[in-house]
Symmetry: C2
Subunit: 246 residues, 2 copies
DNA sequence: GAGTGGTCTAGACCACAGC
DNA sequence: CTGTGGTCTAGACCACTCG
């Protein structure tokens, strides 16, 4: 496979770290096809030298791309461009964000929005203090000409102020992030069951139609519970796409 | 929150990198509860000094744990232990591995095992050359007293040699890894539908019972397609548990 | 202003791959 | 053996947070 002398313009006055400028530029060239699959990069010492960087800084750039799966490093061999892939990482994104990114135009119907002392099971998941209050949100997400998902969420009341207008025009995660909440990890469970009569009616399905269920609990960067949701998706119109790395 | 002077024994003769010795030890103390949630670590300069390490090396250890979500670093503030969580990362594991780890005893029935020129759709996904051959594997996974999943997999024939005995006693990924295949990324799609009559019969469900479907394509570290699978799970007995990080 | 993490440098030595 | 990445050091300066 080819070896390519690499030249990257650096802006040392920029607030963007040098290692990131390098990583971003290499990534761009891989995605653009300028650096084809299998291409060998020059060795780290030479490359760092040409770019006018120290080797640790260059290594940091390369390491970043190795972690993201765009490059492979092998001791004694060298660094190569991996066969390019759709590699959307597993992200902490909401259905709304996903749809928007996919060029769809989701519409949201807010069925219920209250602040209340939630039932004990929910309070436990949210780790609310005694008597703590939380939003309960029920929304119907539509896309194109029909419903896609029925969503119930719970958010501790002291984290953010929510209103129906905001929820109609934005994803819940957008609103949380805008309120300064730093979403960090989520654990979720995906299952399936058939629709009850009531669910079928709301989702415009037949009774007994297959539904995907998703329960998710989201934590912020210091481990506080930030949100819990139980969602139902029409299996006929939705599936979860994931990229795993190991 | 408390601040803790940290002392960690290092073995400079060990082949295990110093940064990793440090990271592993801090992780252990967090998981053991010795370092409670909210605990502040000493600042990097002092800590590096006490451990007899350079600051970059110590930072690498901390950075590793930050990436894994066990620590938070904030400029001008310090480094803190995050509220401990179940944080099983999204892993490239097989159903067999998952069950074994959970203490279950999966049994596998090999329904079909052939090497053939697969249908064009499968050949395309596997990126086989013209006339390339692949294993087609159909297995029924049982656990406890009943079936759990019906699995169909395709693996390029030149990657590994598979036989019925091996597949009965091991997960497919185990066998691939043992053959030197380096599983790296997978993209998968999770959906739901109802069982056909034939599927219901094999899975001992009623016709119309909800099933989880999972299609997965796995790539190795240089982007070659290593495996493709289409699986069916009984929703009554199985759900996908994921941990996402953002 | 004092204290913290964020970045960067210019070296060094080692371990492994492949000839 | 030569060439590669893997680790580590001992500093330096900067940017941000908070009292």
């Amino acid at each position: 496979m080819t070896q390519t002398p690499l030249s990257i313009p650096l802006d040392r006055a920029s607030p963007i770290p040098l290692y990131f400028q390098v990583a971003r530029e290499i990534e761009r060239r891989i995605l653009d096809g300028e650096l084809a699959a299998g291409t060998r990069l020059e060795n780290e010492v030479v490359l760092a030298d040409r770019l006018g960087l120290s080797r640790p800084t260059l290594r940091r750039a390369i390491g970043y791309l190795v972690d993201r799966g765009l490059l492979v490093r092998r001791r004694g061999v060298g660094t190569q461009v991996v066969r390019p892939r759709v590699r959307r990482p597993v992200e902490l994104s909401s259905l709304y964000d996903d749809l928007t990114r996919a060029g769809e135009e989701p519409r949201t119907e807010v069925l219920r929005l209250v602040v209340e002392e939630p039932p004990p099971a929910v309070a436990a998941v949210l780790e609310l203090p005694e008597g703590g209050r939380a939003y309960t949100i029920e929304r119907l997400r539509r896309i194109g000409d029909g419903p896609l998902a029925l969503m119930r969420n719970h958010v501790p009341a002291d984290l953010v102020r929510l209103d129906e207008d905001a929820l109609r025009d934005h994803g819940l995660y957008q609103l949380l992030r805008a309120a300064g909440v730093r979403l960090k990890v989520a654990s979720q469970s995906i299952g399936a069951r058939v629709a009850t009569a009531a669910e079928a009616r709301v989702l415009e399905e037949r009774r007994g139609a297959p539904l995907l269920t998703m329960d998710r609990t989201v934590y912020d960067d210091v481990g506080r519970v930030v949100e819990h949701g139980s969602h139902l998706y029409r299996a006929s119109r939705y599936s979860f796409e994931l990229t795993l790395t190991g």
